[in-house]
């Protein structure tokens, strides 16, 4: 686990260093993208009214990143392309898979009903079957214990996506922005709920913006047990039965953007999530955290 964490940290540092060098090389005053050249007769209108926000928001980021996978015998999730597809109407909106209906929109907050897919299921998508040797606990550390049984097949169990319905409030002011969410499973998959709160504040200077985020989420026992418990029909000598209780996940992250043009930016994102003890202690978990990072070029249409 430590080696995995160190490897991930080194990769993050390398990408951050490359990103910083690229940012410095692209000085605001000297970079080709920061300079306009025009030739020949033109006939553009003089008036420059601010463009109204379009309903659609489309974008794509290309680069490299990873999201670690705390599930045993699973691979980290590579992120090569990050697509952004969203549509915002007066009431309804679609935001990268989330569907929402805005019930209240005021000067300080916006509250919507949102339907989404649970995010824990994604960790169960890239699993391997492995065989392990079980041993007696030896009384002597110098004497290796003999194998107890023939190698036992250990396969992470399957888990389904859950459709969750809930309420989301977005608040902002000079102090920053906050998100409050309460979601409940409506698909009968895990039958649990999740409450979460996030705070972020964006700092902008020149072409650079930095946005640190802090968050906490509380997941109910039903939710945690469905995804991270070892159910009776899944238990084996290698994978003992386990019931996960409710708990808090804590996370912190940083998103940095350097805007090369109105549409193109260098993007760096790092996020660390500390899993609740009841998830981390599960036989299905080999890490007590989820680390995600991404660095690349992002284009917004």
């Amino acid at each position: 686990m430590l080696a995995s964490y160190m490897r991930t940290s080194r990769n993050v540092l390398k990408i951050a260093a490359l990103w910083a060098v690229a940012t410095l090389a692209h000085g605001q005053e000297t970079a080709p993208g920061a300079e306009g050249v025009a030739t020949g007769p033109t006939a553009a209108p003089i008036a420059m009214p601010p463009a109204p926000e379009r309903h659609w928001r489309l974008g794509a980021a290309f680069g490299y990143g990873e999201r670690s996978n705390p599930l045993i015998q699973s691979e980290d999730i590579p992120v090569i392309v990050d697509l952004d597809v969203a549509w915002f109407g007066k009431r309804w909106f679609f935001d990268n898979g989330d569907i929402g209906y805005t019930m209240f929109d005021g000067p300080r907050s916006t509250t919507s009903m949102v339907a989404r897919l649970n995010s824990d299921r994604i960790f169960f998508g890239k699993t391997d079957t492995r065989y392990v040797n079980l041993t007696y606990v030896s009384g002597s550390p110098s004497a290796p214990a003999p194998p107890l049984l023939a190698p036992v097949e250990v396969e992470p169990p399957d888990r389904d996506y859950a459709i969750e319905l809930g309420v989301e409030s977005l608040l902002d002011g000079e102090w920053g922005a906050a998100t409050l969410r309460a979601f409940h499973d409506v698909s009968g998959t895990h039958g649990g709920y999740e409450l979460s709160a996030y705070y972020s504040r964006r700092f902008t200077a020149g072409r650079m913006s930095l946005e640190p985020t802090l968050g906490v989420s509380y997941k109910s026992a039903q939710l945690n047990d469905y995804y991270w418990g070892v159910h009776a029909n899944e238990a084996s000598a290698a994978l003992p039965e386990y019931h996960a209780g409710a708990g808090f996940n804590f996370e912190g992250g940083l998103v940095a953007n350097y805007y090369i043009s109105r549409h193109l930016r260098l993007a760096l994102s790092v996020n660390y999530e500390r899993l609740a003890d009841d998830i981390a202690d599960s036989p299905l978990s080999e890490d007590d955290y989820v680390m995600a990072y991404f660095s690349g070029l992002a284009w917004t249409f």
Binding site: T30, G36, A38, E53, L83
Partner: protein
């Protein structure tokens, strides 16, 4: 028939009298930097210093203008290149353009863009937690 002939003669005479009309202004190359102002809730505008250069194929009288005002920023006599530095606070997009002193013709233009990071619709700034959503 006679009136058509008279028209052609008058037009020919005008061309002969005013051979260097505004339509003949030589093409030019306009270079401006920087081009982008990034604004946010805490930074509603940019204090920017614009370095403006232009070069034309032939010497002529040019004026530098911007779309925010009618009067030229600066005019040059019969020359083929020029530079201008201007410091200004930017909150909205605008255009620098190079043209004839009477404003009838533009030979080059550059748009200074303003990118707003904040939005009147705060739903556009929501972050979801899907695995592929890393930005």
């Amino acid at each position: 028939m006679n009136s058509r002939l008279a028209g052609i003669l008058i037009a020919s005479a005008l061309v002969a009298v005013f051979p260097a009309s505004a339509a003949d202004l030589p093409a030019a190359r306009l270079i401006v930097k920087p081009l982008l102002c990034v604004v946010d809730r805490d930074t509603p505008g940019c204090s920017m210093t614009f370095n403006i250069r232009w070069k034309s194929e032939a010497a002529a009288e040019y004026c530098l203008n911007d779309s925010a005002q009618k009067a030229p920023l600066r005019c040059w006599p019969s020359v083929s290149s020029g530079t201008h530095t201007e410091k200004r606070d930017v909150t909205e997009a605008f255009i620098y353009w190079l043209g004839a002193p009477d404003g009838t013709q533009r030979v080059a233009e550059i748009k200074i863009e303003v990118l707003r990071l904040d939005s009147a619709d705060r739903r556009r700034e929501r972050r979801n937690r899907h695995v592929w959503d890393v930005l």
